[in-house]
Amino acid sequence: MGFKNLFRHETTRHRALSTGQVVPDSARCVQCGICSFNCPIGIDVRRHAWTGEAVVNSRCLTCGECIARCPRGVLRFAHTDLFAEAAK
């Protein structure tokens, strides 16, 4: 099927497979729901993108599926920066 090249995932997954959390950039989001649809454990990632809150969910596998599937680059993986938090 030809079209699959058009929707090849650009995000490399290894970047997501580490400690940290999925962080949305709400301004980019159009609530299409591809992220929630593809979450293997059913976290409503789209809701996080609506409210602007990071996916702080102990069930999150940090598999990076939502990041890779989002067609608009809304989600990224941020390392949990404990030192920056502590410095505030």
Partner: protein
């Protein structure tokens, strides 16, 4: 108790309901909407067509969410506004009264007006019903023609290709989206489409749709050529739905004119989203943004003002993310060359007028096919950027443009030939983001 009445259950209407509820917990909120599917992600329709999404997942709000918002929903079309009486009319009969009214009825696709458009198989992509219809037709369609410029036409092309339909894409001009993309960028998109089997015809002027037994059978071009197809999909621009406001004597230009508080010339009537033409105090111009993000933000701010919390809507620098032939593309600031797009008669869907305001800027660029970066370099600051493919740089660039970073130290480097501007930007960003508080 104040009754807030919201016309249109799109993102602007929903955002307004949320901010009214957050501000005035006891207020009565009534939403009137005529889409039989209610509130869903309209941009998501494109991904539904490509098969990346299923229909039932396109709805961001559950019943519980609506209950939490504590809104009353009136299903129906608003047919009239009686400002004197502070009432609206639904479906030509029932009246609903209001204290504050928000008009958030959006925009709709401009109709194609050539002979033959009433044939079965002539389609547009505006609502869920359209997307469903296209999917059904695509199952028994082997060849389709798509006409129009901008993002929606391309989404139609991609959606049909994904349904294994052979697509011919007609463009009036010499390249795709020529008033926003530069030549190189248009060619990247076109080349990728061709690789997927799409046939592009430039300088094509569609004049007629020809049918057989009530269905599309072919189309005719101005030069006399005919192309066999069973489906014609068009996206030639959008039109704000201003009729209600016009009939009610509200100030209307291309959209409903509102001040920075999203208030119309009637202090009890507000407008937000695709239907609104909002005054921008920074530029002194009234602008239509037909984008999801601004619609949400306008809805939010309108809601605050309706609930009595005076708040100005401050337009953020123009910004859009889209996917062009599979490439995530971020457009920040003014990147277009101005002028109009010959492929569109209305406003471009998912567009902001500001993308095309001609900046006093020189363009610098680098990158190959899939990862492409173009910067519009002003005297001391970056005025715009277009990032195609890898999005690593788009957030830094967004912040540098919004924060008016002084790029004098790297300006010459950016303008030099055979320099990787991405590298220059990264180096600069490291330094700049360390010294400035970036929010």
């Amino acid at each position: 108790m104040t009754r807030h009445l919201i016309l249109g259950m799109g993102v602007a209407g929903i955002a307004a309901a949320e901010s009214i509820r957050a501000t005035e917990s006891g207020a009565e909120i009534v939403l009137v909407g005529d889409d039989p599917f209610g509130y869903y992600s309209r941009p998501g329709l494109a991904y539904y067509l490509t098969g990346e999404m299923v229909e039932k997942q396109l709805f961001p709000f559950t019943t519980a969410d609506f209950q939490r918002l504590n809104v009353r929903y009136v299903k129906g079309r608003t047919t009239k506004i009686f400002r004197e009486e502070h009432q609206i009319e639904v479906d030509g009969k029932n009246r609903v009264s209001y204290d504050r009214l928000l008009i958030a009825v959006g925009a709709q696709a401009v109709r194609l007006t050539i002979p033959g458009t009433d044939l079965e198989g002539v389609v547009k992509l505006d609502h869920m019903a359209d997307a469903r219809h296209i999917q059904q037709l695509a199952r028994r369609t082997r060849r389709a023609v798509v006409v129009g410029g901008g993002i929606t036409a391309l989404e139609l092309v991609e959606g049909l290709v994904a349904q294994r339909v052979k697509v011919t894409y007609l463009l009036r001009g010499d390249r795709y989206w020529n008033n926003v993309l530069d030549e190189h960028e248009s060619r990247i998109v076109e080349k990728r489409l061709e690789e997927e089997g799409v046939e592009l015809i430039h300088h094509a002027e569609l004049t007629e749709v020809l049918g057989k037994r009530g269905r599309v059978d072919s189309i005719r071009l101005l030069d006399g050529r005919t192309i066999k197809c069973n489906l014609l999909a068009y996206a030639i621009g959008i039109q704000p739905r201003v009729e209600l406001a016009k009939d009610a004597g509200l100030a209307v230009d291309k959209g409903i004119l509102v001040d920075e508080h999203l208030q119309t010339n009637d202090p009890d009537v507000f407008a937000a989203g695709d239907v609104a033409q909002a005054y921008d105090p920074l530029t002194g111009r009234s602008i239509i943004d037909s984008l999801w993000g601004p619609a949400r933000e306008q809805g939010r701010v309108a809601g605050l003002n309706m609930a009595g919390r005076k708040t100005a809507y401050l337009k953020s620098p123009p910004f859009n993310v889209t996917r062009l032939a599979g490439l995530t593309t971020t457009i920040i600031g003014a990147v277009g060359r101005g002028g109009r797009d010959d492929d569109l008669v209305g406003i471009a869907r998912g567009d902001s007028e500001t993308f095309r305001s001609l900046p006093d800027a020189i363009s610098a660029q680098s990158g190959f096919d899939v990862n492409h970066l173009r910067l519009l370099v002003g005297e001391k600051t970056l005025l715009g950027a277009l990032v195609m493919g890898d999005q690593t740089l788009s957030i830094p660039l967004q912040k540098m443009i919004a924060g008016k970073a002084d790029i004098s130290p790297i300006r010459e480097k950016l303008m030099a030939h055979d320099v990787k501007i991405a590298d220059v930007v990264v180096e600069f960003w490291k330094e700049w983001s360390r010294n400035f508080v970036v929010t």
